[in-house]
């Protein structure tokens, strides 16, 4: 089977979806809301599903072709023959990109279908699906690009879609009259710019050093240069290749902290929850935010070289170690912040930041497969949790709506009702059973309870950390405890106990369109561990080596074909087979035990508190924990980064641009120069030059005429004398001058 040629279809389908919904969607919906929504939503979903089918075909194609990576060209994009620099637009089909494609289109399709139900009745229904298809399009460009520049196009494209979708309800204002959603979108965009700046610089460095941005070429050249201790010339100064690659990877890390919401740039992701919930599920949990991890995993060769280069950054730390440290500390910090959140989606947002920290840490430790495994598993259960929270929000809104129409409860409802506040929920398991059971599976999977997906993926990271980096292990284990605890807290606050608000009493289960994707994702979250089961992989990996054409037996042997495990020696690179994962009973036992204890602890602490929506949280007695609620980094930015930046911007705007440039340069220099020149022309040149010439000729003529006038005496004899003298003169001339 060979479906490599179908790869461009992967991008074509979502593009068609964008065009359809962008051009005709609104007309369909406005003509007939019911039929129009069906067309608009299902068309977009169908396009996502079609892309998923193509991804599946590519998956099987890879299997029948010995996992052989193929680059399918689409067009020559940039070619500068003089500099021997070419950037083609091509689709890279290898095991890593196909894994990402499957996740993006698979989870994406389910969320598309869910969104048809969730966005029902929204006046901008088709606009939503236009952006959604556009997002799938750019995300596929990101994961399928065969060069860093194409990856960056996708990177920016998904950033744009993220911005558009966070501020989807841009006209919504909060009680204070601030357009919170639009602000959140802008914040995400601006914070991501900081990371993108790192990406751009990294690409400049790569283009200069390797004269190419193509993955294969960059990696091969990098290994070659590293072996020969190449010195890179930068005009006036030069640097050894190890420093250059460390710089490139550090800039990648900056890009990844922006896109994947890590310290120090995670601040945008919690605010991004202002967008519709399917957006949070697809973009801000399952796919876009994982592109930072994809970037690091994709650039694993560069990161391994950086690891070999040793502690180059300030002589203290190497980039991969920094990556692992940032990932682990983000995991713990975000886990702690999640304790203090009351918004059901904010808890999940911080949880996402925390889980992304796990992945980043895994990638930093060199456990690329574990990072990808957790990425896939996380896509399943976090998408599930977000969709579940969306279902809860819908249920609460429905309950509140019910109240508004029921005047007997009129005294119960406040002026502003927040359907996302967990304090107003409680006891929803009876009202929304499907949502509850699927949510429970998701929450347990996230907490790492066997045999659900999260257990296997998280355990693999922890086992690797335990073996290679004890510090990271301790931090991550603590973060895992936090995870279990805040999920237990959320579960209890939302679904257990008694309803704390009349809206929760009247909450209603969501429609079939929303619950079916929940069930599908719950199934995936439950069995996702099969993707890389330790026992299975050990056994099958051996079998697979005898049959290179083989079948998919686990991510480890699957990704082996795009994540090269290698050792740099004097003689050259030696490719190592991936060591099959072994389940570490101690690590797995400890983390399961800790998770269970944390879950149980959360259920115990929240067993009968808070009783009403106004009651304080039992955790509020632990003061230091609530310091995290004020968001340490956010406060720091608002206090120390934003004001100087604003001051600088003000200074640039008012002092430099307005006062200096417009007032001084434009008014004083340019205008005044022009005016004085014009004055010179008018008063001097025109008056004395032009007028002077003309008048001068006039008065000269006049004066001359006055002088000549005197010769005209009117006496005929004078004229006769003139004639006579003239004749004499002629005579003299003829006689003396001519002869």
């Amino acid at each position: 089977m060979n479906a490599y040629g179908l790869a461009p279809l992967l991008l074509l389908f979502p593009a068609v979806g964008v065009l359809f919904n962008g051009l005709f969607g609104r007309r369909f919906v406005e003509a007939d809301a019911k039929v129009g929504e069906r067309w608009s939503g299902w068309f977009a979903s169908l396009m996502a599903i079609s892309s998923f089918v193509v991804a599946v075909l590519l998956f099987f194609t890879l299997q029948t072709n010995e996992f052989h990576p193929v680059v399918v060209p689409i067009m020559d994009w940039i070619s500068i023959p003089a500099a021997d620099f070419y950037v083609p637009w091509a689709i890279r089909v290898d095991t890593l990109s196909v894994t990402m494609m499957l996740v993006v289109t698979g989870v994406g399709s389910l969320i598309h279908i869910y969104a048809i139900g969730y966005m029902h009745g929204d006046p901008n229904f088709s606009r939503f699906f236009t952006y959604f298809s556009l997002f799938i399009f750019f995300m596929l460009i990101l994961v399928s690009g065969s060069t860093y520049l194409v990856l960056f196009v996708g990177w920016e494209g998904v950033g744009l879609c993220s911005f558009l979708l966070i501020s989807f309800w841009f006209d919504r204002k909060n009680a204070a009259g601030k357009a919170m959603n639009a602000d959140a979108g802008r914040k995400a965009f601006i914070v991501n710019r900081v990371g993108d700046f790192g990406m751009v610089l990294a690409m400049f460095l790569m283009a200069w050093t390797f004269r190419s941005l193509e993955f294969d070429t960059v990696f091969e050249t990098a290994v070659e240069m590293f072996k020969t201790n190449h010195i890179v010339q930068f005009g006036l100064f030069s640097a050894p290749i190890s420093v250059v690659i460390t710089a490139i990877t550090a800039l990648f890390l900056l890009g990844a902290t922006g896109k994947s919401a890590q310290i120090p740039l995670y601040v945008w992701l919690p605010d991004a929850m202002a967008g519709p919930t399917p957006v949070s599920a697809l973009i801000h949990a399952a796919t876009m935010v994982t592109s930072g991890i994809y970037l690091i995993v994709r650039s694993n060769v560069l990161f391994e070289i950086a690891r070999e280069s040793g502690p180059v950054i300030f002589g203290v730390i190497s980039t991969p170690d920094l990556v692992a440290l940032i990932g682990a500390s983000t995991g713990l910090l975000a886990g702690l912040i999640a304790f203090t959140q009351f918004d059901i989606k904010k808890v999940l947002a911080y949880s996402t930041v925390s889980q992304l920290g796990f992945m980043i840490a895994a990638a930093g430790m060199g456990a690329y497969v574990a990072a990808m495994f957790h990425l896939v598993a996380h896509a399943f259960f976090k998408a599930l949790l977000f969709l579940g929270s969306g279902s809860v929000i819908h249920g609460m809104e429905h309950g509140h709506h019910h109240l508004l129409h029921d005047h007997s409860h009129a005294e119960d409802h406040e002026a502003v009702f927040d359907p996302q506040d967990m304090r107003t929920m409680g006891g929803l398991r009876h009202r929304m059973p499907v949502t509850f059971w699927t949510y429970l599976i998701g929450a347990l999977a996230l907490s790492g309870i066997p045999p659900l997906a999260g257990f296997w993926s998280k355990d693999e990271i922890l086992a690797h950390a335990n073996e290679h980096a004890q510090v990271v292990y301790v931090v991550l284990a603590l973060a895992a405890v936090c995870t279990a605890f805040y999920m237990g807290r959320q579960l209890h606050l939302t679904f257990f106990g008694a309803p704390r608000h009349a809206a929760a009493e009247h909450a209603q289960e969501s429609s079939r369109l929303m619950t079916v994707p929940l069930i599908a994702l719950a199934a995936l979250a439950a069995v996702g561990g099969l993707l890389n089961l330790p026992f299975l992989t050990t056994r099958m990996a051996e079998a697979n080596h005898h049959h290179p054409a083989g079948v998919f037996v686990g991510l480890e042997s699957w990704l082996e074909h795009s994540i090269a495990a290698f050792e740099l020696t004097e003689a050259g690179t030696i490719h190592l087979p991936h060591t099959p994962i072994v389940l570490s009973p101690v690590v797995a036992g400890i983390s399961t035990l800790l998770a269970l204890v944390a879950l149980g602890g959360a259920f115990y602490i929240y067993r009968n508190k808070p009783e009403t929506a106004a009651d304080p949280d039992p955790l509020q007695r632990i003061k230091p924990l609530w310091w995290f609620r004020i968001l340490p980094l956010e406060t720091f930015y608002m206090k120390f980064v934003v004001p100087p930046f604003k001051w600088l911007a003000d200074w640039l705007a008012f002092a430099v641009d307005w006062n200096f440039w417009h007032d001084f340069v434009h008014n004083n220099i340019i205008r005044d120069m022009f005016v004085s020149f014009a004055t010179f022309l008018a008063d001097v040149f025109d008056k004395f030059g032009v007028d002077g010439t003309v008048n001068g000729i006039g008065s000269l003529t006049k004066g001359l005429a006055g002088a000549i006038r005197r010769t005209q005496t009117g006496f005929a004899r004078t004229y006769a004398l003139g004639v006579f003298l003239g004749a004499v003169a002629l005579l003299v001339y003829f006689l003396w001058v001519l002869y």
Partner: protein
């Protein structure tokens, strides 16, 4: 009796022309000036005829007829003008006719 050569004719022509031009320049009576002009024309005629005879060419002699014709026409117009001026100014003093001065 010496032979009358071309020189004599030319000398007479020059004398006549000189008297005529002095008359034009010095006299104020328009009639006298007119007569002086006639004298200059005739001195030229004399020179023409003398040279024609001397060179054996008839062209000069023919030209004289033209000059006489023009002079006659001129006298007719000129005298008419003088009469007309006299009727208005009661004078034929040429210095009184200076209306065209600059």
């Amino acid at each position: 009796m010496p032979e009358v050569t071309i020189d004599w004719y030319i000398a007479l022509s020059v004398i006549l022309f000189t008297i005529g031009s002095l008359g034009v320049l010095l006299r104020r009576n328009a009639i006298i000036i007119f007569m002086s002009v006639e004298m200059m024309l005739n001195s030229a005629n004399l020179a023409f005829v003398a040279f024609a005879r001397y060179l054996g060419d008839l062209d000069g002699q023919v030209l004289v007829f033209f000059v006489i014709t023009v002079a006659a026409a001129e006298v007719a117009v000129g005298l008419a003008l003088i009469v007309a001026i006299f009727r208005t100014k009661k004078s034929i003093n040429i210095d009184d006719m200076n209306l065209l001065k600059g």
